[in-house]
Amino acid sequence: MSWWCSSSRQTWTWAPKPYLGALLIVAGVLAVAGWWLIRGRHTDAMVEARAASLSAGDTGLTTAGSTNEGTGTGRSVALLCGVLGLWACLDWPLASLGAGYLATAQMMRQILMVMVVAPLLLFATPAPLAARAVGWGKRLSVLRAMSRPAFAVPVAALTLVAVNAPAVVDPLVKTPYGAFAIDAAWVCAGFALWLPVQCPHPGVRRLTGGAAVAYLIGQSIVPVLPGFFMTWADFPIYSTYELAPRVFQGFDAVTDQQTAAAVLQVGGMVLLWIQISYRFLKWGYQQMEEGSPRRKPIPGAGTLTP
């Protein structure tokens, strides 16, 4: 059993070949979740104090602790889906196919990791757990800086463009360490991309409403660039996938590359725009509710004063 996937140039077989590193990471996430469920302190003094102060007066601050999102069931479902997505992304067959045979599989892994697993795991993280992990000191300052769009946009964009560059992909996927570095870069890019709108720490102010929508629309541009080059290049841009043994007859390197570009652009866009649409509608309904006269009766309304 290998510890991580890599390009092998061997003929593809559908015989299962699990990876030890992937299993350990998935087990690690589950262990943290289990520990939190059984032994974790589900309350945090600062979180409670903030929630209390926020409920006393509307400050307009939006953090993980101040919203009513994330019911226990919702978080559990998100965790389950996130862990399953993580496992599918890191283990056979998708990881094997992506590392050495099909650019399409590699792009599916990237989309899965960046657009699905990262936001689900952030959503599944309870605010007290995030507060306990990061604390309220210097690490929180770092997290706040990372959660700013000015940091997240370039980091996510540059990382995603870099890990799709042939000069990076071809040498790295040859070894398990290199392939691991690519996967780690996806995780970093995914968390960087989603932190500004999905940071679970209650001490971090998130983008909401129109700002979140605008931010996500901006981030939806990023996948276009690598996808653009993959679609319109004259030749296969990745030697790894060009010279790999064929998995499906008739699915040549150029077709694979164009399909990968479609997955990257269309798949990534669809997932991102689902989020954008959801946030836009939620924001719209909030705006309407705030404008509705039935929502908050005005004290003293209807009384006559001399």
Binding site: R9, A150, A211, A214, G218, F229, F235, E242
Partner: protein, 224 residues
Amino acid sequence: MPADPNPWTRRRFLGAGAAISAGAALGSCSLNRGSTPDDSAEKPETGKWAGDELDPAWDKPDVSFTDLDGNPFPFREATKGKLTLLFFGYTNCPDICPVYLSTLASAREAIGTGPGSKPDVYFVGVDLPRDTPDVVKTYLKNIDPTFMGLTGSEAVINGALAEVKAPPIELGPADSEGNYEVGHASWATVYLAKDDLGHRRYPFGVRQQDWVRDLPRLDRGKFR
């Protein structure tokens, strides 16, 4: 007045969007997929070559294969004066042969017309029990119908392999289903039209873009 909590103003977003669009537009200028190389204009020759130069050059194998219709095919005479690529492989090869031939076929298609677009590519089946003429014909038809198949006796093929400095046919052990691998040279030898000598050989790993760059030059008689 409180500071704007969102540093991403509309102006900044528009600026970033415009910059990215401009970058994409500039990038597209260097990409012209689907274009056919302009044969009328002599392209500047670059010094880069794929594969290995053969020094001294190799003679064509002086053997007589059998073509797929069962006729004798004296290789040296039949390919005289043509840009010729000779590749030894087998139709049940799971990795190298189909990838190598598909890459070459795609490159030939990408060249379109003009020099290098119609090299004579010969595939010699080294798996004598399984590479029957019909099997080789079907195999090549699926990859590139312009590729030509050849067969022959073990002595003939081993003689040809010796002339391209490759080891003789070596059958691997059969698995439970009776499948076996065949050891074979994983390169194509390129014989130029101008002198019928092999000046370069291209091992597995040569990419489409390398073939597209090199084949027209080889067709013009250049090899370094």
